[in-house]
């Protein structure tokens, strides 16, 4: 624990916290990111739908509208520097009726007002040419060619990697329970007893932004978790579209979408249901039929048979429906960045700029660093190389030849790259490399990954976890447990035994 006083402490290493960290890393200021989970991107950002939005949903009178429009154009440069999977495949909002087309036209006008380039109002013929798998009943829609898809955790990982490369510190398992204002700086207390000091504090704590604000004795507000369930479909799904397909939105949600991913799979969802429990990420069967019914309405070939897995995430909903990004009125060196629901990921790079400006307004002097390096090395992924390219790579780095995950063609070198960047839980490795994400869901590669983790980190097998905390995989070794075979009373056997 250092005695130094950091210039800035960012609470929360989701996409917002990570983007802010990277932005600040280009300035001569000492920054630390505090994340309560065992790895970054383990909260709201983990289950993000992975859409870089088209900038036509919201007016720029809303903060989120302004930041979405500003953010969406920043991704190309970011991808060049940070190499996360991202494609501008285009977004379609499809209409089934004349009424719906009127809403689409409103969105088009909003997009034009927002100065979005390339927006197109499509008639029936045009929209079916753009996406041949659409339901034949679609009469037209909006085409936003600048909209795209991204792997959210790879984005967050790369932002943090770049920030750390430029001197930002990361402390994981640091759950902020109190931040005492000592006139010039905050003393920030973690649940496990760690403490550090920072002059400015940025509350980017997602679902827990209300609790962090209370811990700072700042504004009182309430974050309501809003659950979204999604299904992941196979790469070979017949219903895989080439663009992100939106229905015309309902009042409170963008609806059930069909979302291709940069890696060729497809997501269907999300739902939107409010709940109280911030830790309840359970999926239910109820949504199942509804989600598939809605998805098939858009793309008839979507089928449950293609499901690889289902999961749920929670959005941090705040009353008012807009981002709450402001210098706290109660704690002048605290910047609140709360209620960041959709289009949070799209807006993240612009949020970072805005927060940097708020810091300046709040009194932090920021001077650019001469030695800022925006680039991080690109880690080759063996699945993207031809055999000849792979052979060249293998001559220098043989670990690329050891294929660990057969379903997604992930090599040992990539697993090691993840571990050496601090991703030491099975889920983190999954998000960094895609190993365990494929059809067999870790059936074949889990034990290999565990071996590599042990070798690289010295962890014992019982210390390896799915995502930190108590989520270990192996509890004992053969020989640790005493075998006691119960001797049930002698009874008839019929081979058709039934329990109660």
């Amino acid at each position: 624990m250092k005695n130094e006083v950091y210039d800035v402490a960012i609470v929360g290493a989701g996409v917002v916290g990570a983007a802010i960290a990277r932005k600040l890393s280009s300035y001569a200021c000492s920054t630390v990111v505090l994340e309560k989970e065992w790895d970054v991107s383990f909260g709201v950002s983990k289950t993000n739908s992975g859409i870089v939005h088209g900038g036509f949903h919201y007016p720029t009178s809303l903060l989120k509208g302004r930041l979405e429009v500003a953010g969406t154009i920043m991704f190309d440069r970011l991808q060049q520097e940070l190499h996360f999977p991202f494609q501008r495949c285009g977004i379609l909002v499809v209409a089934f009726t004349v009424e719906e087309m009127k809403t689409v036209e409103r969105m088009y006008r909003q997009g034009v007002e927002n100065r979005i380039i390339g927006l197109e109002l499509c008639n029936r013929e045009r929209i079916h040419t753009l996406e041949p798998k659409l339901n034949a009943d679609v009469v037209g829609g909006l085409h936003a060619p600048s909209g795209g898809v991204i792997e959210p955790y790879r984005f967050v990982f790369s932002l943090i990697e770049s920030a750390r490369k430029n001197g930002v510190e990361l402390q994981t398992r640091f759950k902020v329970i109190k931040a005492q204002d000592e006139d010039d700086y905050f003393v920030i207390h973690a649940e496990d007893g760690r403490r550090l000091q920072a002059r400015y504090l940025i509350n980017a704590a997602g679902l827990y932004a209300d609790e962090v604000s209370a811990a700072c004795e700042a504004e009182r507000f309430h974050i309501t978790p809003r659950k979204g369930q999604e299904f992941l479909l196979d790469r070979n799904a017949a219903g895989l579209p080439g663009k992100v397909i939106f229905p015309v939105p309902a009042s409170n949600s963008k609806g059930i979408l069909v979302i291709p991913t940069p890696e060729g799979t497809c997501m269907v969802g999300p739902t939107a249901v409010e709940q109280e429990d911030k830790e309840d990420l359970s999926t239910t069967r109820d949504n199942f039929e509804r989600i598939f019914h809605s998805a098939r309405r858009l793309i008839p070939k979507i089928s449950e048979r293609d499901i690889i897995t289902a999961f749920a995430g929670l959005r941090p909903a705040l009353e008012g429906g807009d981002f709450y990004i402001a210098v706290s009125e109660k704690q002048p060196r605290l910047i609140q960045v709360a209620g960041i629901q959709s289009p949070g990921l799209t807006a993240a790079p612009a949020i970072a700029e805005h927060v940097k400006d708020l810091l300046k307004i709040a009194g932090l002097v920021l001077t650019e660093r001469a030695d800022y390096d925006p680039l991080i090395p690109e880690v080759p992924r063996i699945r993207r190389l031809s055999p000849y390219e792979a052979d060249t790579l293998l001559q220098k780095e043989p670990a690329y030849g050891e294929i660990v995950c057969r379903c997604e063609s992930v090599s040992e070198a990539e697993i090691v790259a993840a571990i050496r960047r601090g991703h030491t839980t099975m889920d983190s490795i999954k998000f960094y490399t895609r190993a365990q994400m494929g059809r067999c869901q870790g059936g074949f590669c889990s034990y290999k990954i565990m071996k590599i983790l042990q070798r690289e980190t010295g962890m014992s097998i019982e210390e390896i976890t799915k995502r930190g905390g108590k989520s270990r995989l192996i509890t004992d070794r053969v020989g640790d447990l005493t075998v006691q075979t119960p001797t049930p009373p002698a009874q008839d056997q019929s081979g058709q035994e039934s329990g109660k």
């Binding site: 897995t309 999961f311 063996i382 034990y447 097998i461 905390g469 056997q493």
Partner: protein, 417 residues
């Protein structure tokens, strides 16, 4: 890049690959076997229980013992080259096929061969496939992964387990878990009858007093970081009876809910797959839609007995040999699955020779009968004392001589009545 020419490449060094490679090599052809693990044997290496080889060797062997017979045999054949820790990632089919094998030590090996034998085995159906609702804690394993961890690595995945699925893998694991000191609380089976062998119900469940809940399913998984329990729900007439659900406290769930042929690679290079079996469409010689590419073992269709895998693979090898000799003919006639039959393999038969078929029933029945018709006319019947979907049936058909001068497709249809 290492380049090599050989007569046949066998992808997979488990029971199917070994049997095929050995037979092809015995006929004098050169064979290269690609195996991604650091040893041959495939899934047999982790199946330390008995019950293997009863048909083939008339002995009651464990998996590793069965595998060792074939590994030793291949080891003595100079014209079989084995590349371990090598994964076939790409195949370029053509007049001569090219297989790219990736390995740490050898880099990328390019292997050109006239014939390819697909023998990659199968993978397990997992939680994602069957969609069990609830949280996503650690502690949910497929039964095969748990078996691998316990038997090969010596790691115990938990202390109190519930097993979903009463197939043999689930039952064997119920015993194995108990024999390493875990507590197995129950085996849950969605059907109204167990899918595994009765002997396994006795020696894996009854022996330890582990209850078997038939017509039940796991309707939710609980636990934040690690599994803390499951909700078990009975089914009555296929409807889930939520009100009668009960919870079991456990920290581990083993899923034994089915196997799927592992055709990632096959699909990638254009082999046509049969949605009924999950494996390739094959003709009477077990050749796929791509000339010179054959399939055998679990990658073709999921087997119950490794003895049948060896038999099928050796049969496949004899056709590979024919092909390498330039004597393979594709004058095959169709075979279809008739009443109560889920699938028949292969999908074609050769006239004027003995054909061997493998099939699975859709129904459970005692005193059933297998009926084979040719263009609608019955031509063979076989009594089956008991059929159920989880027990594969095999039979041979001696020379079928369809009268070619007569009209009709000469289609064989296999039914169970």
């Amino acid at each position: 890049m290492r380049e090599k020419r050989t007569d046949a490449v066998v992808i997979g060094g488990g029971s199917a690959g070994l049997a095929a490679a050995s037979r092809i090599a015995a006929a004098g052809y050169s064979v290269t076997v690609l195996e991604r693990e650091n040893e041959l044997g495939g899934i047999l290496n982790q199946c330390i229980h008995n019950g293997f080889g009863l048909q083939r060797f008339k002995e009651d062997l464990s998996g590793p013992e069965y595998a060792e017979r074939f590994i030793d045999s291949v080891g003595k054949q100079d014209n079989v080259e084995v590349l371990l820790e090598t994964t076939a990632l790409e195949v370029s089919p053509g007049a001569v096929h090219t297989v790219y094998g990736y390995s740490r030590q050898g880099g990328v090996s390019r292997i050109d061969a006239r014939a390819i034998v697909l023998a990659m085995g199968c993978r397990e159906r997992n939680r994602g496939n069957i969609g069990i609702p609830g949280t996503r804690p650690s502690g949910v394993f497929t039964a095969g992964l748990a078996q691998r961890l316990i038997n090969i690595d010596g790691y115990i995945p938990g202390r109190r387990a519930v097993i979903l699925g009463s197939g043999d893998i689930g039952l064997i694991m119920a015993r194995r878990c108990t024999w390493v000191g875990m507590e197995v609380l129950a085996v849950i089976e969605i059907q109204s009858y167990p899918s595994g062998l009765t002997r396994n119900i006795v020696q894996c469940l009854n022996d330890f007093g582990i209850p078997l809940y038939l017509s039940h399913t796991v309707s939710a998984i609980h636990g934040k970081d690690r599994v803390s329990g499951v909700t078990v729900t009975p089914l009555e007439e296929d409807r889930s009876m939520g009100a009668k659900s009960f919870d079991l406290d456990c920290d581990t769930i083993l899923l034994s809910v089915g196997l799927i042929p592992d055709n990632e690679l096959s699909r990638k290079f254009g082999v046509r797959l049969n949605p009924e079996t999950g494996g390739a469409f094959v003709d009477a010689g077990l050749m796929s839609s791509i000339p010179g590419v054959f399939a055998c073992g679990n990658v073709l269709h999921v087997h119950d007995l490794v003895d049948y895998v060896s038999e099928e693979s050796e049969r496949c090898a004899s056709f590979v040999i024919q092909y390498l000799k330039g004597e393979y003919h594709r004058q095959h006639h169709p075979v279809t699955a008739g009443a109560n039959v889920k699938y028949v393999i292969p999908n074609k038969y050769l006239p004027d020779t003995t054909n061997r078929f493998y099939l699975r029933s859709l129904i459970v029945k005692n005193k059933a009968e297998l009926v084979v018709t040719l263009d609608g006319e019955p031509m063979k019947r076989k009594k089956l004392s008991h059929v159920q979907p989880s027990e594969m049936v095999s039979f041979s058909l001696d020379a079928v001589s369809p009268r070619t001068s007569e009209p009709g497709e000469k289609r064989l249809e296999v039914s169970i009545v």
